[in-house]
Amino acid sequence: MEEVFVPAVGMAMDNAVLLEWQKQPGDQVNAGDVIAIIETDKTTMDLTCETSGTLGRHRYAPNDEVPAGNTITVVLGAGESE
């Protein structure tokens, strides 16, 4: 299982805003797919996954503030569940 999380990309980044989900729970995703778009203090960023599988549930809704380091969803491998 791969956790897709909001990375701490600045020296003092506390959180980011989840702008938009690009994939829905249950979608088949491939490594490199954009899962969500987030906005930090400085820029918007695509969050991609590194593995292929089935997307898990959305743990945040659009416009939620997400603390840096927090997982927003997971990519499930064959036979895995949340």
Partner: protein
């Protein structure tokens, strides 16, 4: 011969420790565990290990904002480095410094800092002290390619030359000053030629070859101890990650990064050499990685479990104690 075998295997191990540490710390930084971010040195291991393996433990170094590889190669326990990255009280700088201020003065590591080129001045000052006190040791100032275009760097080199100081300027040249390719901002393009103009032996070498770095530093050290003054070594290397962790890098191509990783990686090259020379078996190499991974995982565990500095200690270490800064 068996000494040579053990020595070479230690060089390899030291490089694997750095790579494993950096890959691990990079992920932890993205997860928000590392206070103030970090600069990943993956790809530059041979410069650090090649240099330190040519030094005596009592020799002095001063480094840069990208200093994990220098610090680990100088012999600091990964636990103390990781705890410092986490800003914990058990870190080498008691959690005050984080990634850019790793230091161990008692063991000749005068520390990193966030000011481009400043390590050269600090190390030159240490070399001045070494000469004054008549000690038999040398001082090495690390600097990046970006730092070779700052005034203080050349001011320090000039002072080292005219005073014949036991000093080595080691350019850890990863070719990018943050996002700027060195050739775009370096007049004359040739750092070693600039050094020659300042009157000190100056060399550009392959910084991905750990034995070559070792040999050039050893010769520079011998000259310094013989009273012949400083040397400049411009070691060409490459960083695989961004300037800082999480950087959205669009200033170099994936092909360029892959070329350095796939064809010039210092660890791949040296491990292949040791295996072909019969100094290491494939199984031993796999075991080495497993051993180092366990060591770095233990360092993470140590950092996680350690406490943050207590608020009551906030006035400690602000000065030498003579000025009376107390709570």
């Amino acid at each position: 011969m068996s000494n040579d075998k053990e020595w070479k295997r230690k060089l390899l191990r030291d490089m694997v420790v750095i790579r494993t540490f950096e890959e691990t710390a990079d992920k932890l930084t993205l997860r928000g565990k590392v206070a103030g971010g970090m600069h990943n040195s993956s790809g530059q291991e041979a410069v650090a290990v090649g240099t330190m393996s040519a030094l005596d433990p009592k020799d002095v170094i001063a480094t840069t904002h990208r200093s994990h590889h220098h610090t680990l190669a100088k012999g600091m326990d990964p636990k103390l480095v990781m705890a410092e990255l986490f800003a914990k009280a058990t870190g080498c700088s008691k959690g005050r410094g984080a990634s850019m201020h790793l230091a161990d003065v008692d063991n000749g590591n005068f520390g990193g800092n966030g000011i481009v080129g400043a390590g050269v001045g600090i190390a030159m000052g240490a070399a001045m002290g070494i000469k004054q006190l008549g000690h038999k040791k040398v001082s090495v100032g690390f600097v990046g390619d970006g730092g070779m275009n700052t005034g203080r760097t050349w001011e320090a080199i000039n002072m080292a030359v005219v005073n014949k100081l036991p000093f080595i300027c080691l350019v850890d040249n990863n070719q990018y000053a943050v996002e700027t390719f060195i050739d775009r901002v370096t007049g004359g393009r040739d750092i070693a030629k600039r050094g020659a103009g300042f009157g000190l032996p100056s060399f550009t070498i392959d910084g991905q070859d750990v034995l070559k770095v070792n040999r050039y530093v050893k010769e520079a050290r011998d000259r310094a101890l013989a009273g012949e003054g400083p040397t400049l070594i411009n070691a060409l290397t490459y960083r695989y990650y961004g300037h800082n962790v999480g950087e959205k890098g669009q200033y170099r191509t994936q092909e360029e990064i892959a070329d350095w990783r796939d064809n010039r990686d210092p660890i791949d090259r040296f491990s292949a050499q040791l295996i072909s020379e019969g100094l290491l078996s494939q199984d031993e190499y796999v075991a080495l990685h497993a051993e180092v991974t366990a060591q770095i995982n233990a360092a993470v565990e140590f950092a996680e479990q350690s406490p943050y500095p207590d608020l009551s200690t906030i006035y400690e270490d602000v000065d030498s104690g003579l000025l009376g800064a107390k709570s």
